[in-house]
Structures are given as structure tokens and as C-alpha cells.
Amino acid sequence: MLWVALELPSLPLQLVERAGVSREPVVICEGPEQRPVVICANASASSAGVREGQAVAAAKALVGELRVVPRDPAAEREALQGLAAWAGQFTPMACLDGQGIALEIEPSLKLFSGHARLCSAIRRGIRHLGFHAVAGIAPTPLAARLFARAEARGLHVRSCIDLAGLRERVADLPLFLLDWPARTLAHLTDLGVLRMRDMLELPMEGVARRFGPEIAIHLGRLMGTIADPREPYSPPPRFRARLELPAEADGVEALLFPLRRMLAEMEGALRGRGAGVQRLMLWLEHGRKARTRVEMEFASPERESDFILAIAREKLGRLTLPAATLALDLRAEALLPYMPRESTWLPGAREQAIGRERLIERLSARLGRDRVFGIAVGDDHRPDRSWSPVQPGHSGVATNPAAPAARPVWLLNRPHRLITRDDIPSHQGELSFIAGPERIESGWWDGAEVRRDYYVAANARGETYWIFREHRGDQGWYLHGVFA
């Protein structure tokens, strides 16, 4: 087995800064209300002398305009769950573990061409999500966690990929990296047991008797002598993510950066389940319960963040926001099976079809869904009704397959009266008839009766038109369509 432990140092602060690093000093506080204590401080606050463990009052004394955010364990947990769901794309065995997540990657090594590439893919991915994580690789999850913490402390540890070398690799690491009770650690320090090496040399029965069996078991699990089974995190069958912006965002552009992070998280989570989303809801929260809804719908299930972001960009670009945005909430309530798009050497009909779908989505996002439609052959003799708009990609209800021939692709919305000389119609020059007359007399029953003789006619420039002579009313000549 091979485990990767991801440690997110200062997770509470990361959550606050995920949507964008703030220049103002920020601290996260925890503890009793009367005397909250700083547990993390951002770069700006640290440079002003704010340290972990300081009382918030003391920190405020150091920095005038200090933003104090109370720790939110629930949000941290949600973030870790989201991360575990996202990591599902790398391995089915992803679980929450302390202040991070642990992934069992051995079965995925082949797919990702080795642990080094896999780990760098994971690190890169996490960066895209807006998180900072350090990773440790070891044959047991506890050892991997230990390495990650060491890394986080700036200790350089070489990853270990087999149990045989584990003892040597952990030997130099300090015991305080372990999640052991402070009392136990103090006791061991008093005994002069400071590093793993010292600890592992002690007889286990004695350790168990003296410090409790859980310490012995922990060591055994860490060293791989006792099994350490984990339960993989199984995400709920929907996707929800909420992100608070570091500062009020006035425009739409400012929303795209945090949105990209959320979409990347969603993509990973969807990949892990082989799913996609067809309907996506984005709420822009403006404070005081004011919200703006942005709905995205796709022709087929989608998950690629770049594509969805492009659609969202078009949608957002057409919005006028009532107020500045404070937070984003992204929700997909139904996850659908995703059909991956194949890419082949040569683009064929299928690729073009996919391209068309994408084009339709982009067009309808930009122009409005009601303005992008397909054309289906309608079941009526009247040219105005012999076609009807349909949803893109649908062929309409084919009631009668025998469609008439020789119809122009472009039919004018309203026939255009032609000028005539000696009763010969002209349009950009005198028209001569190529075919016709095709007589159409129909529709007397619904008040839109048509009685016309249609001709295909061309002018001297070779432009071909579909014109008709009206038999009702003015008996005039009209242009109705243009042949390509």
C-alpha cells in the first residue's frame, strides 16, 4: 500500500483567503468568548507581529485594522469533504484524516505513471482549487501524515514507498508531530525520548503499560505492524459549494476567479463519480438576503470546468447586478452519468457534432436561449408554416416525411413587395423565371389563407430568389426567399 497524506496548514485561514488573498491583516480566533486566542494569522498580520496563541485583544493592539474571523469547524469539515470528493478522481480510497485528507494511491500508480507524477498532479490540482497543501508519501496513512507534518514544519523528508525503509525514514522525526496527548508527549520529553528513533527502541509492552495501549497501537499502525483500515469518504449525490469573497466584488470579472476554483472542485468531484451535470445553479449573494440567480443548462451532461466557466462568463456578462457580491453558492442537485468525449486523430462527424453542441450552448448563452433554435419541416403547404422553430438538436415531429423540394434556405420573415415594370418583377435587376409556377392554395380554414403562384427567378447577377404572385388582394409580386 502507498498513501499520500495531504496536510492543509492553517486551514481556517486558507478558507478565508481561498477566494483571493486579502492585503488587510486577518486572523482566525478560537477559544472562550471573553478571551479569544489567535490561531492563525495571514502574512500581513504576521509581519505586524501577530503570533499564534496571542490573545485577540493583544493582536488588535498590534494591528489597528485587524479583521478577526472566528474559527468555523463546520466549514473546515465541509472543505475537507469537498477536497476528498475532488480527490475521488485520483483514487476511490480518499478519506478525511485530521486536518487534511489521506489517499491510498497504489492502485492508481499505473494510470498516472508513477507516484511522483501523481503527486505533482494532485498538488497542482489543489493549487487550482485555491488551497495550499503539503503532501507526505508513506506505506501507512499515519506515516504519510507524519511526513506531511514534517514537511509543513519545513523539515525535509524524502518520501518512503516501502515498509522496509520506513523505520529509517521516520527515525529522525520529532515526536511532537504526532497527535498524541500533550501529557504523554511531556512525559516522554522528560524521559529524554524526543525522536521517533528513541520511541521505536522502547519495548512495546512497557510502552503500552506505561502510556496506555492506544499509544502502542498508534505506533504499530504507523509502522505498519498493525492494520489501519480506513473508510473512504463517500460524497452525497449532488454538488454544493459556497465561497465567500475576501472583499465585496462590484463587477462580474472579479467573480470569475473564485468561480473557476469552485468549478475545478466540482470537476474533480464529478470525475471521481464518472458524472456530469446538466443543470447548474449559481447564486450570487449580495447580503441582506438579496441574491441573483444564474442558471446554466446544457444539452448533455458536462463537467469540464473551462467549458462551464466559458458559459458562465457569457451568462454573467449579460447580468446587471443589483449590488456588490459577497459570496458565491454553486449547486448541482442532480448528477448524471457522463459520456466522455473521445478525441480521435481525425475529426469526424462525431467531433463536429460535439463542436456544434458546444457552439449552440455558447450561442444561446450569449444571445439568450430563446433566440437560438433549430428549424424543422412543418406539416403545412403554406411556406410560412412549412417550417417551425424547434429546440436545437431536435428534428421536430415528422408527421409527413415527403417534404417539398426546391425551397430556399432563407425565407423572409415577411414577403417583400417587388417593384414591377410592365408587370415583370425586378429585384436588383429584372427577374427571369427559372421554374414555376408552383401554385399554393391552402389554409382557408384558419384565417391565414394563401393563394399564390411561386416562381424561382434570377436576376442578371445570378442571384436566385423565390418570388410569388399574390392572387388575393393586390395581385402583386413579392419576394419571399433567397436561394443560397
Binding site: P404, E441, W445, D446
Partner: protein, 641 residues
């Protein structure tokens, strides 16, 4: 010079809910337009040809009998009869197709089309060229390609395409019109009919409607502007091959009724004389014998013997099964019918007028209607089927036509009215004659009388009324032929299982001089039969001219008495005071729309009063000839002859 043209593809209203003009209208228009001939080619039917034939004969237009058929695989063709042989083949083919499908439908495949059939020309409506190749091989030398132009998308290209097909197949092109109506103005009605046939409103009929109103009998000038002259000329060539005329068809009486060694005449004479002896055991009065001789002579002159024999045979069967039966109508005027047991009117007691029944001058086939007990009529029908077989006996058709109510319902549906609205309209229907009252009624029903849809519905309903809707079976009119009946006229399934009807109705049969035997059901006969059983008497035991019975009749005590039980009859009886059988005959005749509307009732009653008062000699007649005819009815023409 104006080219000649013969329309070889024309549907009448007997292609139900397709053709929007009657055969007569089409024939008249074709004649007006100067067409050299008109082929009536209803879809798998000849139901309209007799009407067209009669009209065409009057106008001197050449009528061609044909049929349009679409095979199961989509191949569409028209067959035209060029000789009686071809006509018979055609009838057989239609019968095959009709018998193989449900009522009103037909099913024919390529295998059903006889190979190299004589006396038929086949016109193909181009589809896949393979179809044409097949048809050309099926009708070598007698297959043609139709070029039908209706100002479609590109008629010139169409001509070119069909001509190239024709060249490949070695066939000649002819111009045809796919005529559905006699004039363009019927287009709306034709659209409505199509929608009714498709069972959908017009708005959903879409391209299944014709794109324009060109499928009418166009003027020769218009046609020659559209079609190359050679195509028009070919239509004449084909028409000239069609020498068959409906007058040629010959009906033959069944032969088996005459025993070997006898002729129909001798056999009828023998049966009649036997009957005479039975009717008058003490010897027939001379007058009766003379009448019988006179009638037999007239029957022989007109060769109607087999007809009398046929009826006699059916009646004899009924008698043998103790089924009460009674000839009615003008047959009661025949002494021969009395002798044969068909009727019960004793020529010795009444003066019969045989010429009312058969007359050489009128040259109409006799009409013997026989009523049977209604509950046992089916036994008689089954006897006929058994005796002659289903190939030779079938029931005449009745053309069911649109009545105002049914027309309104169908038109309303086609124009998209809701059922409630149609109901509402049909309630106001009795006001249709009066425009102002109708407007008022419509307004009351929530309709705007000026509304376009309402106007269209009313207008089209009036047009549709009277159009044939489907063929049904006649109550009991049998046609029996000596050969296969389906050679004479196609036979199709009726809605009643095991019943078959021919495609012609009573008028068609009369027009062609075919004889039919009416086997009708009469509830009163069942009633009489039971009454006789209750009193333990036979029909023959009922005394004639019973005075007590007449007394009851004079008091109008006639509830339940056939013919004179209605309110109107009962109110007339005390005034007319019938005293003999002939008075009853007058009583029945006088309470009818004709005499009442013609104001004949009072003059007659007055004159009768004069006779009773002994002033009969004061009755005046316009002339001596009229006196001979009208003396029976005291100079008032009560009967409708």
C-alpha cells in the same frame, strides 16, 4: 386547332370522402368542356359508374369505366375496361380486394393483378421505375404512364423525368388530371372531406391535403398550355380503345329453377295453372282465366318468366317452412302472382290492373316485394345463399348519404369546433331555412353569426349534405345471377358478418335493367301468425268482407291494426266510413302527404257523400278518358301513378 382530350383519371363522390363532385356533375362539366371522353375511376369501386353512365348517355359523352387502385406496396394504377371481358375481370379484381379487407377498405397485392388480362388498359402513376417495369410486363402493349400536372414545384422538370422513364420502359406518356372535383370551387369541400377521412381537424391535415385546387376538370386550353400535345393525343388513343359500354352487361336469370325438358315459359305456365286449380277448387271464373292468360302473354313477351319463377321458389320455400309471407305493392295486381301464392288478392273479387305492375310501354322490370315474418326472414335469406351460393347472390347496396346533422358534425370537427359547439349548432339546425331566425339562434347559442368559422361551417355543411358517405346493405333486395355475380358488379363485405353487398343500389339496378327480389321483414306478419295460432285458425280461414270488422273500423276502433292505426288514420276513418276492401285501400292512400297537400281529401269526401245520398250521377268528369281512369276514386286522382 384545339386539341382533343379525354380525362382518364377521375374520382367521383363514390370514392368516399375523396371525390368532391357527383358523377353527374363531372359528366356535365366534361361534356361542357368538350372532353372527348371521361373515365370514371373511383378507388376500387364502380359504385358511381351507373349514374355517370346514365348522365353521359343523355349528353352523348363517351363514358369509360375504370378504377383506381393502390396496391399494398404503394404501386398506384388505373385500370380501364376496353371490353366486357375486361370489365368482368375488373369487377372480379375489385371483389377480391374488397372481400379481403374490412368494410369500406380493400387490399390488393401485385399477385392479385391478372397477367396479360384481356380488355384492360393499365395506366401507371410513376413512382419507382421498377414498378413501371413490372406493370409493363404485366400488361404488355396495354400499359401507359400518366403525366399529371397540377402546378407543382417544377412541372417542366417533372415532364422531363417521366418521359425519360417512359423511354426506358418503352411506354407512352398520356396526360391525365387526377380529377377530384368538377370545378375549382369545390376545393374547400374537398379539403374538408380529406380531413374527415383522415379523422383530424384541417389544421392537422397538413400536407395530406392537396396543395392547390388544380384537381378539377380544367379547360382544354389550360391543359394544352401545361401538357405537350402528344400527351393529350395519347389520352385520345387510349380512350378510343375503350369500347366497352355499360349497356353491354347482360344479366342472366338462374337456370336451375326450370326442370330439364321445360322452358321457363312452359314451367311458369304449369305452375300457374296448378296454382289456379288450387285457388279455385270449384273451377276458376272465366274472367280470372282470361286475366291469367293475358298476363302470361305479356310476361312471355318481356321474358320475365325466370323472375316470377325465382320469387315463386322463395315463397314456396317460406310456405314449406310455415313462414308467413305476403307479396305487396303493385304485384297485388297480378293474377299470376295470386296463382303462384305470392299474393293473396283474389282477382275474382277485385278488379286487378296488371298494367300497374308490368307494362310494355314503361319497359321497367317488375317489382315484386315480398314481406316475410321479420323474425324468420333470416331463414329465407340463408335459403337464398344456400341455393345460389354466395358467388351468385348478394344484397343490393344502399348509399348512405350525409344528412344535415351528420354533415354538420363532421364539418364542425374538421374546422376544429368542440363537440359542445357542434351540438349547439346542430340544435339550431331546424332554423337553417330562415336566415334571420338562424342568426338569432346562433347569437343565443353564443356564436357570432358573422364569424368566419361559423359561416364556413354552415356553408360547407350545406354543400356536404347529400354526398355519399359509405355503402350499406339494402334491407333485403337480392340480386341473383346465373353466373358469378362478381363478374357483373363487384361484391364487397357488409358490416354484418357473412353478408355481402354489391356496389350498386336499387336505382343503379333499375337503370341497367337488372332484377332484384326484395326479401323484406314485416313485424305485423309475425303478429298475425301468432294471432292465428292463438285462435287456432289458418290465414285462408279468415272470412272476406266481414261486416262486423268494417263496423269496428268505422268507429275507428283500430288500435294495433296494420296501416290504419295512426292518429291521422283513425281520425279519418269515421268520416270515410269504409264499407269494403277498396275503401280501405283509399283510406290508406288518402292520408298521405300527396292528397293532403294537393287538397284532394275534401273533394273526395264530398263526392263520396253524394254517392251515399244517391246523387252519384251528378259527379262530373273533365273528359270521358279521365272518367275511365278516375271513376274508381270518384274523379279525384288519389293514387300516384
Amino acid at each position: 386547332m384545339i386539341p382533343g382530350y379525354a380525362e382518364l383519371h377521375c374520382l367521383t363522390s363514390y370514392s368516399f370522402l375523396r371525390g368532391a363532385s357527383s358523377p353527374e356533375e363531372l359528366v356535365h362539366r366534361a361534356s361542357e368542356m368538350g372532353y372527348r371522353a371521361l373515365a370514371v375511376t373511383d378507388e376500387c369501386s364502380v359504385a358511381g359508374v351507373v349514374r355517370a353512365h346514365v348522365a353521359a348517355k343523355e349528353l352523348g359523352l363517351k363514358l369509360i369505366v375504370g378504377t383506381e387502385i393502390t396496391l399494398e406496396d404503394g404501386l398506384k394504377l388505373v385500370l380501364l375496361a376496353t371490353s366486357i371481358r375486361g370489365y368482368e375481370t375488373m369487377c372480379e379484381l375489385i371483389t377480391t380486394g374488397r372481400r379481403a379487407a374490412r368494410k369500406g377498405e380493400y387490399r390488393l397485392a401485385r399477385g392479385d393483378i391478372p397477367a396479360a388480362a384481356q380488355g384492360l388498359e393499365a395506366i401507371w402513376f410513376p413512382g419507382d421505375i421498377e414498378e413501371g417495369r413490372w406493370l409493363a410486363s404485366r400488361f404488355p402493349g396495354h400499359a401507359w404512364i400518366a403525366v399529371e400536372l397540377h402546378r407543382g414545384n417544377d412541372d417542366a422538370a417533372r415532364i422531363e423525368k417521366i418521359e425519360s422513364m417512359a423511354a426506358e420502359l418503352g411506354l407512352r406518356c398520356l396526360a391525365a388530371g387526377d380529377v377530384h372535383m368538377h370545378e375549382r370551387a369545390r376545393k374547400k369541400l374537398q379539403d374538408v372531406m380529406t380531413a374527415i377521412r383522415l379523422k383530424c381537424p384541417l389544421s392537422q391535415a397538413g400536407r395530406r391535403l392537396h396543395p392547390n385546387g388544380e384537381r378539377y376538370l380544367r379547360s382544354i386550353g389550360r391543359l394544352s398550355a401545361l401538357h405537350p400535345a402528344r400527351h393529350l393525343a395519347t389520352s385520345l388513343d387510349v380512350a378510343s380503345r375503350c369500347a366497352f359500354c355499360l349497356d353491354e352487361i347482360r344479366y342472366e336469370y338462374p337456370e336451375e329453377l326450370v326442370p330439364a325438358g321445360e322452358t321457363p315459359a312452359t314451367h311458369l305456365r304449369k305452375l300457374t295453372l296448378e296454382g289456379l286449380a288450387r285457388r279455385y277448387p270449384e273451377g276458376a271464373p272465366d274472367a280470372v282465366v282470361q286475366t291469367v292468360e293475358h298476363e302470361l302473354k305479356l310476361i312471355a313477351e318481356l321474358s320475365y318468366e325466370p323472375f316470377f319463377l325465382t320469387v315463386q321458389d322463395i315463397v314456396a320455400f317460406a310456405r314449406s317452412q310455415e313462414i308467413l309471407c305476403q307479396g305487396r305493392g303493385s304485384a297485388a295486381n297480378s293474377a299470376v302472382c295470386y296463382c303462384l301464392g305470392i299474393t293473396e288478392v283474389d282477382p275474382g273479387r277485385m278488379s286487378v290492373l296488371f298494367e300497374r305492375f308490368i307494362s310494355k310501354e314503361r319497359n321497367e322490370p317488375p317489382d315484386i316485394d315480398v314481406d316475410f315474418e321479420h323474425q324468420r326472414r333470416e331463414e329465407v335469406i340463408q335459403y337464398i345463399y344456400r341455393k345460389y351460393g354466395r358467388e351468385r347472390a348478394a344484397i343490393a347496396a344502399v348509399v348512405i348519404t350525409y344528412q344535415p346533422r351528420s354533415a354538420l358534425r363532421d364539418v364542425g370537427k374538421a374546422l376544429g369546433l368542440s363537440l359542445d359547439q357542434v351540438d349547439m349548432l346542430s340544435k339550431s339546425m331546424s332554423w337553417w331555412d330562415n336566415r334571420e331566425a338562424l342568426r338569432q339562434r346562433l347569437a343565443e347559442g353564443g356564436f357570432d353569426p358573422g364569424n368566419r368559422v361559423v359561416r364556413e361551417v354552415l356553408d360547407l355543411t350545406q354543400q356536404l349534405v347529400g354526398f355519399p358517405r359509405h355503402l350499406s346493405q339494402h334491407p333485403g333486395g337480392f340480386v341473383i345471377d346465373n353466373r358469378r355475380l362478381s363478374r357483373l358488379v363487384p361484391v364487397e363485405n357488409a358490416s354484418m358478418p357473412e353478408r355481402t353487398v354489391i356496389q350498386w343500389d336499387k336505382d343503379d339496378l333499375d337503370a341497367l335493367g337488372l332484377l332484384k327480389v326484395d326479401v323484406l321483414g314485416l313485424g305485423m306478419l309475425s303478429c298475425i301468425r301468432r294471432a292465428l295460432a292463438l285462435v287456432g285458425r289458418r290465414m285462408q280461414d279468415v272470412p272476406a268482407e266481414d261486416a262486423k270488422t268494417y263496423e269496428m273500423i268505422q268507429r275507428a276502433d283500430t288500435i294495433g291494426v296494420f296501416q290504419i292505426e295512426s292518429r291521422a288514420q283513425m281520425s279519418m276513418l269515421p268520416r270515410l266510413q269504409p264499407r269494403c276492401f277498396y275503401d280501405i285501400v283509399i283510406e290508406v292512400a288518402i292520408v298521405r302527404p300527396g292528397p293532403i297537400q294537393g287538397n284532394m281529401v275534401h273533394p273526395y269526401l264530398q263526392r263520396r257523400e253524394m254517392v251515399r245520398a244517391g246523387r252519384g250521377d251528378q259527379i262530373t268528369y273533365e273528359s270521358e278518358e279521365l272518367k275511365q281512369t278516375l271513376a274508381h276514386t270518384l274523379g279525384v286522382p288519389l293514387f300516384q301513378e
